[in-house]
C-alpha cells in the first residue's frame, strides 16, 4: 500500500528537477510505466475510507494514478448495459460517480496526453452510465469539460466527439453541444511515424497550439475514425445547430459533408445533408446557396437528381406566392420520411417573414393597417406578428404611435444601419473585425500545421524524391545535349519504388 502510494506521489509536474520538456517527457513516461504496473488490488483497497486512493490523490496533480484508480474500479464491474448493471457507487449521486466527474472536470491535461486509452475509457464509461440510467443529459457537462480540458481547441476529431454529439441529441440539449461544435475540426488523428517524432524531437507534453501533435492514431485518445463517423458527426452537429435555430452555422456545417472526396458518387448521408442544405440555403440567404467549389460535381449532380422535390420547394419559395404552401402540403409524406417536416414548415413561415422584411427596401414608414392588409391579418395579429419579428431580430424597425388623439400604429424602418434595435456601432464592428482577424490567424496556424504534417506524408516524400530525380536527370541531360541513350541508366527500376 505504502509502496504503491509512494509510486503514485513520485511524480510532481511542478518539481524543480524538471528543467525541460524532454525531462518532463521522460519523467511522465517512467511514471506511467510504474503506475501501470501497480497491481489492481492496491487500487481497490480501502474503498470509501479516508485511506482510499481517490481521497488521498489530487486529481489535478496526480492525474495519472487517479485515472488508473478509477479505471481499475470500473473494470471490476461489467460494462453497463442497462440501469441494473450500473453499480451503485457509479450511479449518479454515488461516491465513485462524483469522483469520476470531479476528475473529468479537473485533470491535468498534459499528463492525460500520455494515457489516452485510460482517459478515453473513463470518458466512455461516464457517457455509458448516463445512458444506461436513461438520463443522458448528466453526461454532457463532464464529457464536454473533459474534451475541452484535454484539447481546448477540440479541433482534432476523436470518437468522443461523436459520442458527445449522440448524447447531446439524445438528451435534446442542442445548445449544450455548441461549445464543441463551434470549434472547427482542423485535423483528423494521424499516424505519425515514430522515427519522425524522434527526428523532430517533439514530445507530447510540449506546449503546442494544435492538438494534432498529441492526439494521433496511436495516442489512444480516440478509436479508429472512419468516414462514416465523421459524416455522422457533421450531420448530428447540423441537426443540433438547427435545433438551436442557428441556421447559418448548420448550413456551413453541412457543406463539410458535401465536399467529401468521392469517386464521382454520393452516399446516403450526403443525400440527407444535401436535402437539408437546400432548405437551409433558402432560410439563410433567401435562395439556394451555390455549391461549394470543392464538391465533386458528378456526386452533386446525382444528389440534385435525387432531390427533385426539394428543388421544387425552393423554386416555389423564391416565387413568393401561395405555391410554396401547396408544395409543402403535397410533399408532407416526403418531408416526414426525410425528417425535414420542421424545416419545411420553417421555410413556409420564413416566406412571409421575408415578405415583411423586404418592405424595408421600399418603405421607411408604413401604417400598420397597410401591413395587416398585406399579410391578410387583423390589426391585433399583425401587431403581435411584427412585434415578434422585431424582438427576434428579423427587423431593424420599431412600432410607434403617431402623435395625435387618434394616433394609429406605424411600422418605422431604420434606414441607417447605425440606428434602431439592430444597430451596430463602429466600435462593435471594429471588435468583430478584430475577432475575425484573430480567428483567421488561428486558422492560418492550423493550416500551417496541416501543411507540415502533409509534407511528411510518405506519398508526398515519394513524389518529391521522384521530382528531384527527374530534375537531376534533366539537368544532366541538358548539359551536353546527349542524344545517345544506351549509356544512360540501364533501365528504370519500376519495382524498386514499390519495395519499401
Amino acid at each position: 500500500m505504502a509502496d504503491s502510494l509512494s509510486i503514485c506521489f513520485s511524480f510532481e509536474p511542478t518539481s524543480p528537477n524538471i528543467k525541460s520538456n524532454l525531462d518532463l517527457d521522460r519523467h511522465i513516461r517512467s511514471h506511467v510505466a510504474a503506475v501501470s504496473h501497480i497491481p489492481s488490488s492496491a487500487f481497490l483497497k480501502n474503498i470509501d475510507t479516508p485511506q482510499d486512493f481517490l481521497e488521498i490523490l489530487n486529481p489535478s496533480v496526480n492525474s495519472i494514478p487517479y485515472a488508473y484508480t478509477l479505471l481499475h474500479r470500473i473494470q471490476t464491474h461489467d460494462w453497463p448495459k442497462g440501469p441494473k448493471s450500473v453499480p451503485d457507487t457509479f450511479r449518479p449521486g454515488g461516491g465513485s460517480w462524483g469522483k469520476l466527474v470531479e476528475f473529468l472536470e479537473s485533470f491535468d491535461p498534459v499528463q492525460m496526453r500520455y494515457i489516452g486509452d485510460v482517459w478515453r475509457r473513463l470518458v466512455e464509461y461516464c457517457d455509458r452510465v448516463a445512458r444506461a440510467m436513461g438520463t443522458p443529459g448528466i453526461a454532457i457537462s463532464p464529457v464536454r469539460s473533459a474534451m475541452l480540458q484535454l484539447d481546448p481547441s477540440t479541433g482534432t476529431f476523436t470518437s468522443n466527439h461523436l459520442l458527445f454529439m449522440r448524447t447531446c441529441l439524445e438528451a435534446g440539449s442542442y445548445t449544450a453541444a455548441l461549445p464543441i461544435l463551434d470549434n472547427y475540426i482542423y485535423n483528423l488523428p494521424q499516424n505519425i511515424a515514430k522515427a519522425l517524432i524522434e527526428i523532430e524531437g517533439s514530445v507530447p507534453c510540449a506546449e503546442t497550439s494544435t492538438s494534432s501533435d498529441f492526439i494521433t492514431t496511436r495516442s489512444g485518445h480516440s478509436e479508429k475514425i472512419t468516414l462514416a463517423d465523421l459524416h455522422e458527426y457533421y450531420m448530428l452537429g447540423a441537426i443540433a445547430y438547427i435545433g438551436a435555430r442557428k441556421f447559418k452555422q448548420a448550413l456551413l456545417f453541412l457543406e463539410h459533408i458535401l465536399i467529401t472526396p468521392s469517386a464521382n458518387i454520393a452516399n446516403g448521408i450526403m443525400w440527407e445533408a444535401y436535402k437539408k442544405w437546400v432548405i437551409l440555403g433558402c432560410l439563410v440567404n433567401g435562395a439556394p446557396s451555390a455549391t461549394p467549389k470543392t464538391a465533386n460535381s458528378s456526386a452533386m449532380k446525382q444528389l440534385r437528381a435525387a432531390s427533385k422535390a426539394y428543388d421544387a420547394l425552393t423554386e416555389a419559395f423564391q416565387m413568393h406566392g401561395p405555391k410554396l404552401r401547396a408544395q409543402a402540403e403535397v410533399g408532407v409524406q416526403t418531408w416526414a420520411e426525410d425528417g425535414n417536416t420542421g424545416l419545411v414548415s420553417e421555410l413556409v413561415d420564413h416566406q412571409m417573414r421575408l415578405a415583411v422584411i423586404k418592405l424595408k427596401d421600399t418603405y421607411s414608414a408604413i401604417p400598420l393597417t397597410h401591413v395587416a392588409k398585406f399579410l391578410g391579418f387583423s390589426m391585433q395579429e399583425a401587431e403581435a406578428y411584427i412585434r415578434n419579428l422585431v424582438a427576434r431580430g428579423y427587423l431593424n424597425a420599431s412600432l410607434d404611435h403617431t402623435p395625435g388623439p387618434n394616433g394609429s400604429l406605424v411600422l418605422r424602418f431604420y434606414t441607417d444601419p447605425t440606428e434602431g434595435p439592430l444597430a451596430k456601432s463602429e466600435k462593435e464592428q471594429y471588435l468583430e473585425l478584430l475577432q475575425q482577424t484573430a480567428q483567421t490567424n488561428k486558422l492560418a496556424e492550423q493550416v500551417k500545421a496541416a501543411d507540415y504534417r502533409l509534407s511528411l506524408n510518405k506519398d508526398y516524400l515519394e513524389h518529391v524524391r521522384r521530382l528531384n530525380k527527374k530534375a537531376a536527370a534533366s539537368a544532366a541531360a541538358g548539359d551536353a545535349m546527349d542524344v545517345t541513350w544506351d549509356d544512360a541508366e540501364p533501365e528504370e527500376d519500376i519495382m524498386g519504388d514499390l519495395i519499401m
Binding site: Y186, P261, P367, T415, Q439, L443
Partner: protein, 472 residues
C-alpha cells in the same frame, strides 16, 4: 362623326380585347403627312392609321383604297375595303370593286408567268447578267404585288449572279428594304451589317452610310434596344434627306423620312441616355441638329430634360403621344419609350433631394391625372431597383435612404473575411479527409476492399506494393 366611328363594331371589339385605340386627334394633317412618303409604305402607313385611330380611320382608309386601286396589289385592296366596311359599312368605298380585283389578279398571273419564262430562257443561255436582271425583275414584280416572301427569295437568288461589287451592294440593300417591309428586324439588321462590311471607304460609302445607319437604327428600335437605336440614328448624316436613290429605292421616302429620324432618334436618346450624354451627343451634335430642326418639339423636349424641367418635357411628349402611336414603326414602342423617359425623369428629379413629399411628386409627374397613384408607381420603381429611395406612407414623403459608407465597408469586409474563412475550412477538411484516405466510393468497391476503414486508397496501394515486392 368621330363618335359614331368610335362606336363602330371594329373599334368596340378592339376596346373589348383591351387593344390600342387612339381616340385623340393627332397634331399632323393627314394629307401633308402622307405626302412625305412614296410607294408601299404609304399604303401601309395609311392602313396603320386606319386600324388604330378612330378619328382618322375613314379618311385614311379612303385614301388608302384609292391609292391601292392604282397599284397592282389586289390583296391589300380587298383587306382595306374590308377594314373600312367594318368601320363604316355605308361608305361607298367600302364595297370592293371585284371586277378590278379579278382583272388585276389575272394580269398579275400573266405577268408572273411571263417573267418566269423569261428567267428560264436566261438561265438556258447561261448569261449571268441576264439571269441577275431576270431575278431582279421578278423581285420587283413580287414586291409590287405585295408578295414579300417571294420578293425576298428572288432578290436573294441574284447573289450568285452578281458580277460587280455594286451589284452585290444593290442586292443587299434590296434585301434590307424587303426585310424592313416584312418587319423582319433581325434580317434587316444582318443585311444592313453586310452592306456595311461590303462597302469600301470611298464615295459610295458616303452615299450608303446614312441609309445603313437609318435602317440599323430602325431595326434596333423595333427590337426595343433603344440605346443602340439612338446611337445609330445619331450617326445618320444629314445628307440622308437629300441623298439619291440607293439601288433604285428612295429610302427617305419609301422607308423613313428625315422627320422620322429626328423623332425616333430623339426619343430613343431620351429613353436611353443621361443628361450629359444628351447634351453632348444630341443637342450639341451639328449633324443631328439639322434633323432636330425638322421636329422642333423633340428638341424642346430634350432641352427641357437637360435643364431638369422634367414636367415640361413629359408634357411636350404627352401632347404628341397620339401622333407617335399612329406611326407605323414607332407605335408599338411608344409606350415603352415613354415609360422609360418617365422613370428616368423621376429618378433624375429625385436625385438632388433627400426628401420630397408625394403630393409634390404627383403634381410634377401626374399632369394628366390619369394612371395609377404616384406611390404605386414609385413602389414598383423601387422594387425594380430603378429608384433608390424609401416611401414614408405616414407623412407621405419620398425619402432618400441614409448611407453610411464606413458601416457598409466594415460589414462587407467582415462578410468577405467570413466567407474566405469558411472556404478555407472546407478545403482543409477535404484535405484532411483525403490525407486520411477517406473517400466515398461505389458500394461494390467498398464491400470488396472495405476501404472506408481509414487506411483507404493509400493503404491498399501500399499493400499491393508489398505483395509485388515480395513477389519479385
Amino acid at each position: 362623326m368621330a363618335t359614331t366611328i368610335e362606336q363602330a363594331p371594329y373599334f368596340l371589339e378592339r376596346k373589348e380585347k383591351n387593344l390600342l385605340v387612339v381616340k385623340d386627334p393627332p397634331k399632323f394633317d393627314l394629307e401633308s403627312y402622307i405626302a412625305n412618303y412614296e410607294g408601299r409604305t404609304r399604303l401601309k402607313r395609311l392602313e396603320h392609321i386606319g386600324m388604330y385611330s378612330s378619328y382618322l380611320a375613314v379618311d385614311a382608309l379612303r385614301m388608302a383604297i384609292a391609292e391601292a386601286k392604282h397599284g397592282a396589289d389586289e390583296n391589300i385592296y380587298i383587306s382595306l375595303t374590308e377594314l373600312l366596311h367594318s368601320i363604316s359599312p355605308k361608305d361607298t368605298m367600302a364595297t370592293p370593286d371585284v371586277e378590278w380585283a379579278e382583272k388585276t389578279f389575272k394580269a398579275n398571273k400573266l405577268r408572273q408567268e411571263q417573267l418566269e419564262s423569261e428567267l428560264k430562257a436566261y438561265k438556258n443561255n447561261l448569261i449571268k447578267e441576264s439571269i441577275r436582271m431576270g431575278n431582279e425583275d421578278l423581285g420587283h414584280f413580287y414586291y409590287n404585288i405585295g408578295d414579300l416572301g417571294n420578293a425576298f427569295k428572288s432578290y436573294f437568288r441574284m447573289r450568285e449572279h452578281c458580277t460587280s461589287a455594286k451589284h452585290l451592294t444593290d442586292m443587299t440593300m434590296r434585301l434590307t428594304f424587303v426585310a424592313i417591309a416584312q418587319r423582319n428586324w433581325l434580317g434587316a439588321q444582318s443585311h444592313a451589317t453586310k452592306v456595311d462590311a461590303q462597302v469600301a471607304k470611298n464615295e459610295e460609302r458616303g452615299k450608303l452610310e446614312p441609309v445603313i445607319n437609318a435602317c440599323m437604327g430602325l431595326s434596333h428600335m423595333c427590337c426595343n434596344s433603344f440605346r443602340d437605336a439612338a446611337r445609330d440614328f445619331l450617326n445618320v448624316s444629314p445628307t440622308f434627306i437629300t441623298a439619291d436613290a440607293v439601288a433604285g429605292i428612295k429610302f427617305q421616302k419609301e422607308v423613313l423620312t428625315g422627320n422620322d429620324i429626328a423623332v425616333y432618334g430623339g426619343l430613343c436618346a431620351l429613353a436611353s441616355m443621361d443628361r450629359t450624354e444628351l447634351q453632348e451627343r444630341v443637342l450639341s451634335d451639328t449633324d443631328f441638329r439639322q434633323f432636330l430642326e425638322l421636329e422642333p418639339h423633340i428638341r424642346r423636349a430634350i432641352s427641357a430634360f437637360c435643364s431638369s424641367k422634367y414636367s415640361t418635357c413629359l408634357q411636350i411628349l404627352e401632347e404628341y403621344r397620339a401622333d407617335y402611336l399612329l406611326d407605323i414603326y414607332l407605335g408599338p414602342a411608344v409606350t415603352d419609350i415613354y415609360h422609360r423617359i418617365r422613370t428616368k425623369s423621376i429618378v433624375q428629379y429625385f436625385k438632388p433631394f433627400s426628401c420630397v413629399s408625394l403630393d409634390e411628386m404627383s403634381k410634377k409627374f401626374q399632369i394628366t391625372g390619369e394612371g395609377y397613384a404616384i406611390e404605386d408607381e414609385l413602389t414598383s420603381m423601387i422594387t425594380a431597383g430603378i429608384l433608390d429611395a424609401r416611401i414614408d406612407l405616414v407623412e407621405r414623403l419620398l425619402i432618400s435612404p441614409a448611407t453610411n459608407a464606413r458601416h457598409v465597408v466594415h460589414s462587407d469586409a467582415l462578410k468577405m473575411a467570413q466567407s474566405y474563412d469558411h472556404t478555407l475550412r472546407l478545403r482543409l477538411t477535404r484535405l484532411n479527409m483525403q490525407n486520411a484516405g477517406m473517400e466515398v466510393r461505389s458500394p461494390k468497391a467498398d464491400m470488396e476492399k472495405n476501404i472506408d476503414r481509414g487506411e483507404g486508397f493509400g493503404g491498399t496501394l501500399r499493400r499491393l506494393g508489398q505483395g509485388l515486392g515480395g513477389f519479385s
